[in-house]
Subunit: 220 residues, 4 copies
DNA sequence: GATGAATGAGTGTTCATTCAT
DNA sequence: CATGAATGAACACTCATTCAT
C-alpha cells in the first residue's frame, strides 16, 4: 500500500536525493555546496557526482520529486466524486499536510520558483525550467478548475480569479515559512494545524463551516 | 528642526543600499557578489567596502531598511483612530501596496527570514539576527493587537491566533512571489490588486464587504 | 611457423590501442581521459584498466606501436641493395607515406617526444622514456648511416650532419602538422604528396632529379 | 632603440605572460595548471586571474605575443629592397633565429596551431581561433609572395606551391623540436645553426650558395 | 573479464576581504 | 574617497585509480 508507483531508482540515489533536499531547504541553492551534501551523507563528493552529473541536475531532481509529492498530496481530493467544496477541502487539507510532512521538499519547490533569476544559462537548463513551470501550471490548474466549478455553482465567492487563486494557494503554502518539524520526529498536530489553515483559506472564498474551534495543542 | 527622523546617512550610502537591494532581490544573498553590486553602481568594490564593512553588514542594512519601509507601510493605519476593522483594512492595504511598490526590499526581507542559518558565526551577527527577529515580532504584534481587539469586539472570527495571524500575513505578502514591477515604471494597477488581496484576506477573518467586483485592468 | 613476428596480443588489446591512438591524437595526452578512450570503445574504464595498468602505460604502448610502424615504414628502403640515393628515396617515401596513412600514431609519436617532462616520476617510467629515446635514436641512425654513405661517395651535400639530419627528418614529418585524412576514407593522393615532399627534402641534400612536375590533384 | 612599439601593459602583466609562455612550452596547454604558472611566479592564482580572466585568455595572450614576435622576426627581411633570394634569406635567417632565441613563445605558437582539436567551445573562443588562423595565414603569405616572385623570375624551383611552402616553413621551424637554450644563458652559436638550417631549406628551392662549410661549435 | 561504485587529489574559477596608494 | 592589486578559502567539476562483485 505504501510502495511508490515508480521504482525507487536505487537506495543510494534516494539517499542522496533526501540529503540534498534537506540541505537545499536549510541553506538554499546557492549556499549549498556539493561538499555539504556529501558531508551530510557521510561520504565524499564523488558519490554525489556518480549519481548526478551536476549540482543543477541534483537540484532539478529534488524539485521534480517535490513536484510529484505535491501532486500526490492533492490528487485524491481532486479525484473524489463530490461537490466542489468537498473536493477543494480535501485537496487543501492534502496540500497543507504535505507542506508540513514533506517540509524540506516543499521549501525547495518554492525556492525553485523564485529561481528564474539564477539565469538558466544552458539550453538544457531552460528546458528543465520550462518543464517545471508547466508542471506548476498544471498544479494550479487543478485548483483553478475546482474554484471555477464552485463559482459557477454559486457556492464560492471569487473576485479576480488569478489574484484569488494565488492568495488561496499562498495561504496553504504558509507553513513552509514557519513550520519546523519536531526534532524528535513525533506525530505532531499536523492535522489540527492544517485544519485551521484550510478553514481560514476557504473562508476567503466565502465558505464557512461555522466551526470556530481549534484543536491545536500548545506543544512542549 | 526640519530634518527627517532618520537622517539620510548620505547620498552615496543610499545609492549603494538601493543597488544592493536590487541585486539581493534578483539573485539572492549567496549568489550576489560585492562585485555585482559595485558594477550595478558603476564603481568598484572599494566604494561598497568604504560604507559597509562586510557583505553581511550590507545585507543587514538592506534588511533593516526593508523593515523600516514595512513599518512605514502599516503605521498610518495602525495609528488611525477608528474601529478595528477599519484599522486592519488600512494597515493591510498599506502593507499590500508596499509589497508591490517596494518589491526589491520586501523580497530581501522574506529571504532574510528564511536564512537564520547563514551561519550566525560572529557574536555581532547573532545580535543583528536577534534584533531583526525582535523587529519582525514587533511588526506582527501590531497586527495581532488589532486582531485581538476585533475578536474581543466580536467583529472578527479568529480560530487559533498564531495560525490565523500567520495565514493572514502570508496572504498579504503574496505579491512578493508573483508580482513583477512594470518595466516601463508606469503607475500600474497596484491599488486594485491590493484591494483584491485585502478583501480575500479579511474574508478569512469573517469580514465581508459584500463587494465582489474587481477593478484590475488586464494590462497592456 | 606462420605466426607473424610480434604476436598480435589479442583483438581486445589492439582495439584499445587503436582507440587510444585516435584519442591521444585528437586531444593530446593530458586532455584525454581514460573515460574518453572507453567511450570511444563503447565500453567502460574497466576494460582499459584490465589491459593497461595506467594511463601512462597505455600511452607508452601507443608510442611503442607507433615506433614499430615508423620502423616498418623505412626498413624496406633501408634493406634494399642499391646506391645511397635510391635507398634514401625509398626510406623517405616510406616515411612520408606512413606519416599520412598512420596519421594518428605518428602524431602521438611527435607529441611524446616533446613530453620528456610529463614527470618521469616512477623508475619504471624513466626506463620507458629511456627505451623510447633509444629507439628514436636508432631510427635516426638509420638515416644518418645512409646520409654518411652518400656524403662519402660525394653524391650528397651535407653540412653539419646533426642539423642537416634533423632538418631532413622534420621535413618528412611535415604532414603531421597539416595533413588531415579524408573523412570518407578514400584513397587520397598520398603518394603524390609524399613524392613532392621527398623531392623537396632531397634537394636540400643537393640531390635533384630535374623533375619539376607535381601530380597532386586538387581534390574534390 | 629596443623599446617595444606598443606600451608594455605593465610589468606584472609581462611577468605573468613570460612565466606562462615557459610553462605552456614545457608542459603544453592541458598539462599546465594556473597554479603551476602562479608557483612559477612565486605568487598565487589570484594574481594571474587578476590580469587574465581565464586560462584560455592567458594562452591566447601568449599566442598573440608569439605571433608578434614571429612577425618581427621576418619583417625586416620582407621589407628589404632586394632581389627575392636575398629577401627570402633574410626572412629565413630572422625566423630561424627567433625560433631559438624566443624558443618558449615559438613552441607555444606551434602547439596552438595543433589545438583546433581542443574544441573552441565558446563563441568568443571561436573568434580568437579564427583571428589567430588569419594571422598565421598572413604570416605564410609573406613567404608565399617572395617564393612566387622567385619562381616568376626563374631563380627558385618550386613544384606544388602549398606543399613546398609548408615544407620550407617546417624546416625553419625545426629548432623548436630539438633546440634547448643554454641554461647559462650564454650567447650560443644561434647564428651558425640558423645559417645551416637556412642553407638546407633554400637548397630545397634549388638555391645553392656553394658554401658548404659549417661554423657550428660543438658546444661545451 | 568487465562493470559500477567510490575516493581523493587536482583544476579552473569565484569571491569576500585586506591593503597600499 | 576610491581604486587596483593581491590573497586564500571555497566551490563545481574532472579524473586516474582502486575494489568488490
Amino acid at each position: 500500500m505504501s510502495a511508490p508507483a515508480q521504482k525507487p531508482k536505487s537506495d543510494r540515489y534516494e539517499e542522496i536525493l533526501e540529503a540534498a533536499a534537506e540541505c537545499f531547504q536549510k541553506q538554499g541553492f546557492s549556499a549549498t555546496s556539493i561538499d555539504t551534501v556529501a558531508r551530510h551523507l557521510g561520504s565524499t563528493k564523488g558519490r554525489v557526482y556518480h549519481y548526478f552529473p551536476s549540482k543543477m541536475d541534483l537540484f532539478n531532481a529534488v524539485r521534480d520529486r517535490a513536484m510529484e509529492i505535491a501532486f500526490d498530496g492533492i490528487r485524491p481530493g481532486y479525484d473524489t466524486d463530490a461537490d466542489p467544496i468537498e473536493r477543494l477541502r480535501l485537496m487543501s487539507m492534502g496540500h497543507a499536510r504535505v507542506m508540513m510532512l514533506r517540509h524540506s521538499y516543499m521549501q525547495v519547490l518554492l525556492d525553485g520558483l523564485q529561481m528564474q533569476r539564477y539565469g538558466a544559462t544552458t539550453e538544457f537548463q531552460r528546458q528543465a525550467m520550462a518543464r517545471h513551470l508547466a508542471e506548476r501550471n498544471a498544479f494550479e490548474t487543478m485548483f483553478r478548475e475546482v474554484l471555477t466549478l464552485g463559482a459557477d455553482q454559486g457556492v464560492m465567492t471569487i473576485g479576480h480569479m488569478s489574484i484569488t487563486l494565488q492568495s488561496y494557494l499562498i495561504t496553504l503554502n504558509g507553513p513552509v515559512f514557519w513550520y519546523r518539524p519536531r526534532s524528535d520526529g513525533s506525530a505532531d498536530n499536523v492535522d489540527a494545524i492544517a485544519h485551521d489553515i484550510v478553514r481560514y483559506a476557504m473562508r476567503g472564498l466565502g465558505i464557512d463551516d461555522n466551526d470556530n474551534t481549534s484543536t491545536i495543542s500548545t506543544g512542549a
